[in-house]
């Protein structure tokens, strides 16, 4: 995610690092979590499709479902989560200080965060990147045709820099039109101040819905930067790291094997050895992580497989209508690839 406060976030987080390393050294997150009865999960304070409270006041979104999957693996109950809404600045402090044990908050996996901040990324829930939204009437099919375009962009985000890099690299000119908030950016695009609106692809869909006529605009296929978003845990507790990592892998493997929340009970009697191992029918792969044998069964039956989670929150079953694209499984032309359970 490109955020205005990124630099400040790094700064504050780095300032507290000396103190944080002592906090990070605490192990046995699993025991603490069991004692508390809930998984403490840091989520965004409101990002369409990733985490937001619904009409009933329940948290929902793809990031939220990662929290639920971890809770299902640990407790067999996907509702045993304490959601802590965090903004971009305080998210790493909250994780380092132990206020949350999993940070599932559209956080881009970068070297700095993975190393110097004392954190570990456990995987990728969503491959994001900067994309372009253009008016359908322009008849464009590729970002390479954007030479000389006026581009609406939000001020102070890394998006601005990445777009400039992309245009320079491709020897094209562009005219940036900068707005303060995403709503103003939509307004500018709608009023015809620019031909192109640019933002992270996950956000483009949400911005597109806010247009008066969403069908009048299309998202171009190019994605010009790498923004892998994933859950984060503290360094120094490998058991907990494994639990969060394999909760995500279980959902990906389930989709690959065709197991969903609808058919998981039938799959329990499957002869396929891969399925039997994942669902705990053959061997106990949860034990090594301190979990029950049915850890993956609980995730799949209560939260669903990765495809279900994607479709429900950001994909075709949601208002956002984001294409799977690069977020497909490796078997379908995407890059999601989970190691086997063996």
């Amino acid at each position: 995610m490109s955020h205005k406060n990124n630099k400040f976030a790094l700064l504050t987080a780095a300032t507290g690092l000396a103190l944080a390393t002592t906090a990070a050294a605490q192990a046995a997150t699993l025991e603490d979590t069991r004692a508390q009865g809930v998984v403490q999960c840091g989520v965004s304070d409101g990002l369409p499709g990733f985490s937001s409270p619904n009409d009933q006041g329940e948290w929902q979104g793809i990031d939220v479902d990662v929290c639920r999957a971890v809770a299902a693996a640990v407790f067999g109950d996907s509702e045993a989560v304490r959601y802590v809404p965090l903004n971009a600045v305080e998210r790493f402090t909250a994780l380092q200080s132990g206020e949350v044990d999993v940070l599932s908050r559209n956080t881009t996996w970068t070297t700095t965060r993975d190393t110097t901040l004392g954190l570990n990324f456990t995987g990728v829930t969503f491959y994001d990147g900067i994309g372009f939204l253009v008016n359908k009437d322009l008849g464009l099919s590729s970002a390479k045709e954007l030479d000389g375009a006026a581009i609406c962009v939000q001020a102070g985000t890394t998006t601005e820099l990445n777009v400039a890099d992309y245009f320079r690299a491709n020897g094209m000119q562009f005219d940036p039109i900068v707005f303060d908030t995403s709503e103003q950016t939509v307004g500018g695009f709608q009023a015809g101040r620019c031909d192109v609106l640019t933002s992270d692809t996950s956000q483009l869909a949400a911005l597109r819905i806010q247009l008066e006529n969403p069908d009048s605009a299309v998202v171009l296929p190019e994605v010009i930067s790498k923004e892998p978003l994933g859950p984060v845990v503290r360094q120094g507790d490998d058991q907990w790291f494994n639990i969060v990592k394999w909760s995500l892998f279980a959902m990906l493997n389930a989709e690959e094997m065709g197991i969903s929340s609808d058919n998981v009970d039938d799959m329990l009697s499957s002869d396929n050895p891969d399925i039997a191992r994942l669902l705990g029918q053959d061997g106990n792969y949860g034990e090594a992580m301190g979990l029950e044998a049915d850890w993956a069964y609980n995730i799949i039956s209560q939260v669903g497989n990765y495809g279900q989670v994607f479709d429900r929150n950001v994909g075709m079953d949601s208002p956002l209508q984001i294409e799977r694209g690069i977020n497909e499984l490796w078997t379908n032309g995407g890059i999601h690839y989970a190691p086997p359970v063996r």
């Binding site: 300032t15 605490q26 369409p48 937001s52 619904n54 006041g57 903004n87 402090t93 132990g98 806010q210």
Partner: protein, 366 residues
């Protein structure tokens, strides 16, 4: 000889001096310049009001359950309708909402009792409000006692959280501010310098910095595994901050009381606390009402800053609702609603303070 004693019937005033036409002439069209200004103002007003009313009422959609029920031509109040419970109670569990209602109902009764002059037993009610009520409110809202299930503070939100922050801030800041103001006027060097340093420090930093420190830095300084609740952190920050402001408002009032008042009280043999409590403060507080209410109103609005530390006050929960992918694009409605609620509360405070001023008016007003 004097026959002509018949009294002339009272006649109505000439038509050009009464009635709406005369009022218009006297107030709006009394000369060429005023006429031009009036016409321009009327034009501006109409050109602003008509589209606003058109948007907010005539073209607006009121009934429904989802965004499909909105035509998008006018305001979509369906969004507010669907979320009103959340805007008021935050993420508080639905079947526990009665606890919030009871708490605020109780609070409203106590405040009304104190505010309406005719009702008796003021002193006992005041004690109940300040000493007993906070514990009752905490037990009700947080639970964990009397068989009530615990509702953790991260589920509190909306108008309820705004009121909790504002009320605690106000109730705590007034006494602390009074003590600080007295301390700053004191001749005792330690008391005086403590008060001065406290006031100048907290007045010198922006509230947003205080909240950031409380939420980002404080957790790193505390021992591992020890977490102070974020609501408590915010409450302490707001209280300390507002106390400093309150202290300066009260000091201003204290300085307006002539020195002779205190000297006269001293001549009657009163000690320091009696002089302050019975002679100086009652006179000073009365004059400080506009300043105190001003501080209260700004505190009420400042509570929205807790949004940046991940607490969902009224404005925060509205923003969170705006990010629900099923309700994208209704930010104008959301912000208009939040603005209206804030205005109602602030305007009520302002009206009550004016009433209080009139009631306590004893000739000091110039």
């Amino acid at each position: 000889m004097i026959h002509n004693r018949t009294v002339i019937e009272a006649r109505p005033a000439p038509t050009h001096t009464i009635g709406p036409v005369a009022w218009l002439r006297a107030n709006l069209f009394s000369g060429p310049i005023n006429t031009i200004l009036s016409l321009a103002a009327i034009y501006l007003l109409v050109s602003l009001l008509v589209p606003t009313i058109q948007w907010a009422f005539i073209d607006a959609d009121w009934v429904g359950t989802s965004r499909d029920d909105c035509s998008r031509e006018g305001a979509c109040w369906v969004f507010i309708n669907a979320r009103i419970g959340q805007f008021i109670y935050g993420l508080y569990p639905r079947h526990e909402i009665w606890r919030v209602n009871v708490t605020f109902g109780l609070f409203a009764v106590l405040i009304a009792w104190l505010a309406i002059p005719r009702l008796p037993l003021k002193r006992w009610v005041a004690v109940a409000t300040l000493v007993v009520f906070p514990f009752v409110a905490f037990a009700l809202l947080y639970g964990g006692r009397f068989g009530l299930p615990v509702v953790e503070t991260h589920r509190w939100g909306g108008l309820m959280l705004t009121l909790v922050l504002a009320v605690v801030g106000m109730v705590a800041a007034l006494p602390i501010g009074t003590l600080l103001a007295l301390g700053r006027r004191s001749k005792m060097p330690i008391v005086k310098s403590f008060s001065v340093i406290f006031i100048e420090f907290w007045r010198g930093v922006p509230l947003i910095t205080v909240l950031f420190m409380a939420s980002v830095m404080l957790p790193l300084f505390l021992p591992t595994g020890m977490n102070v609740d974020r609501l408590v952190r915010a409450l302490i920050g707001i209280t300390l901050f507002q106390s400093a402001y309150m202290a300066e408002v009260i000091r201003g009032g204290l300085q307006a009381i002539p020195r002779g008042q205190e000297e006269a009280a001293a001549a009657l043999g009163m000690g320091y606390w009696k002089r302050m409590g019975l002679i100086v403060l009652p006179q000073a507080l009365k004059m400080m009402i506009p300043g105190i209410v001003n501080t209260f109103i700004s505190l009420f609005k400042d509570t929205t800053l807790v949004m940046i530390i991940g607490l969902f006050d009224l404005l925060g929960i509205v923003q969170a609702a705006l990010s629900d992918s099923r309700w994208l694009g209704f930010s104008v409605e959301g912000y208009a609603f939040a603005a209206l609620v804030f205005w109602i509360f602030c305007f009520s405070m302002s009206r009550y303070s004016q009433y209080l001023e009139r009631k306590l008016h004893t000739g000091h007003k110039r």
